[in-house]
């Protein structure tokens, strides 16, 4: 059974960047990393760090919550490599409770966090 497990035991983030792999055959990026490419089924990869800067694609918040819970704003961002040649879409929460701070297209920065994906909204 062990040989059927395809998840790689590696940290999801290294600092404030996503720890992904890029297929050397077709260029597909996998995050979280697996032992194969889901597009071409190849197994030849290179490590690739993505982030920390990205752009908000969409966002929302949930009002139906327990009173003691924080008003979390969540969304999807497009996160870029430092050279801007590659990117992935990633979901997470924003480090603000103010809905007015969040806008589609705004720049974000991925924050180092061992448990959750959290984005800091950057000033224009």
């Amino acid at each position: 059974m062990e040989n059927l497990i395809t998840r790689q035991k590696v940290p999801m983030l290294i600092g404030n960047r996503v720890n992904a792999v890029k297929c050397n055959i077709c260029g597909n990026i996998r995050f979280p990393p697996r032992t194969y490419c889901n597009k071409c089924q190849g197994t030849d990869f290179s490590s690739i760090l993505i982030g920390p800067i990205g752009e908000i694609v969409t966002y929302s918040t949930t009002y139906k919550k327990k009173p003691k819970d924080k008003q979390r704003i969540f969304g999807i961002v497009q996160l870029f490599t430092e050279d801007g040649n590659d990117s992935i879409t990633l979901s997470g929460t924003f480090d603000t409770e103010n809905f007015d701070d969040v806008k589609i297209g705004k720049k974000i920065e991925l924050l180092p966090n061992e448990k959750y994906i959290v984005f800091k909204i950057l000033e224009d």
Binding site: M1, L4, I5, R7, N38
Partner: protein, 397 residues
């Protein structure tokens, strides 16, 4: 209706796979099926997958095998889910809508509640309501083993069948599965070990009940035109597909057994233009041996022997791999295990490998003279009803 052939098959190792994701169980089966078909995966136009517990498992597996974008349909029909998915794939191609389709089954049994496939408070209340005035007990809340134990007791009373007859089916199953590296149970058992195993529902001991198993199986189907266009060698042709259903009370006038099996087998054999005796001369099959009792009554219900003579089939060695009518050369559900959604496609993979004399079945190969025709059969019980699916295959069009 267009002619349709099976051109590839893959099965993941069956067992307790709690640590694996659906995609990790299903991907090897799909990739093996594509590899054995020898086709470019881009030819696959549609997917039907059987599963009772795996909501979205098909999408997950198709995404992991580079097939995302095609139509993906989940089929839920209790223990017949996999064979039902195959039937829908067949209909998709036979109707002219598609030319190359994958039929898959996947199951992680810890995600399958018997409230989904049968049982559960609400269903039991409804079942009891229906049982009033019926000559057939509705299992008194004992679940699947209880139902087949009742059938076994009735069979013993009506025909003098012995506990040893049922136990012998497990001995045969384990012998075949000892040559199947993908079966959950690969160790042989003696008749004494079977009889002295933990009693579940008299006369069924534990080893006479199929295990709740995780696993996946996939087969690739193709139209005759595509098979010719893509120069596919030795497809296994689908000669007939039939499905039957009955209410849980069954037919009270029918002797101990499953009347809808008899009805469906007559239907599928008629469509295929074969008779039960033809399988003695040149065929074999995989049937739904969820319990030892069920395999024995299937022999009778399919017309392979007279009602009440099922014990002779096992005791005289007729259903052994080297017998006159090999049944369950894979080891069947009793030894391979029974991932509800995957069992039907696993059976079809076995038929495909046997008919193609594939290396997968080299150690349990059915003799040449029995490879002309084959049947598969699943018996699902979505609590208040029986639903069974049967197919007949042939090497010749």
């Amino acid at each position: 209706m267009r002619n349709v052939g099976v051109i590839g098959a893959g099965v993941s190792p069956f067992g307790r796979l709690d640590a694996l994701l659906y995609q990790e169980i299903g991907r090897p089966a799909v990739n093996d099926a594509i590899e054995s078909a020898g086709i470019d995966r881009k030819l696959i136009q549609s997917c039907y997958y059987g599963t009772c517990g795996g909501v979205g498992a098909g999408h997950e597996i198709m995404n992991e095998t580079g097939l995302m974008g095609i139509p993906i349909t989940r089929v839920v029909n209790a223990c017949s889910s996999g064979s039902n998915a195959f039937r829908m794939a067949y209909m998709d191609i036979a109707s002219g809508m598609s030319d190359c389709v994958i039929a898959m089954g996947v199951e992680k049994m810890k995600n399958v509640s018997m409230a989904v496939v049968g049982g559960g408070t609400r269903f039991q209340i409804e079942a009891k309501a229906y049982s009033y005035g019926s000559p057939v007990s509705l299992w008194a809340g004992g679940g699947m083993p209880a139902g087949f134990a009742l059938m076994g007791q009735a069979h013993m009373k009506a025909f003098g069948t012995k506990r040893e007859d049922f136990a012998n089916i497990v001995v045969k199953s384990r012998k075949n599965a000892s040559k199947n590296p993908k079966a959950e149970f690969q160790t042989q058992m003696t008749i004494d070990e079977v009889l002295n195993d933990v009693m579940v529902n008299d006369p069924l001991t534990k080893s006479q009940c199929c295990p709740r198993t995780d696993g996946a199986a996939a087969v690739i189907l193709m139209s005759e035109d595509y098979i010719k266009d893509h120069h596919i060698d030795a497809p296994v042709w689908i000669k007939a597909s039939a499905m039957g259903s009955h209410f849980i009370t069954g037919d009270p006038s029918y002797p101990p057994g499953i009347s809808t099996d008899a009805d469906t087998s007559r239907k599928v054999f008629k469509i295929a233009g074969v008779e039960p005796k033809d399988f003695y001369e040149r065929g074999f099959g995989e049937c739904h041996d969820c319990f030892s009792v069920s395999e024995l009554v299937h022999y009778e219900d399919f017309g392979f022997c007279k009602k009440g003579e099922g014990a002779n089939m096992i005791n005289d060695g007729i259903v052994e791999i080297d017998g006159d009518l090999p049944i369950n050369p894979s080891g069947g559900l009793l030894s391979c295990g029974h991932p509800l959604g995957a069992t039907g496609t696993r059976q079809i993979a076995e038929v495909f490998w046997q008919m193609r004399k594939d290396k997968e079945v080299a150690k349990r190969q059915v003799p040449d003279n029995h490879l002309d025709i084959a049947f598969t059969h699943t018996l699902g019980q979505p609590w208040l009803g029986f639903t069974n699916v049967m197919h007949v295959f042939s090497r010749e069009l």
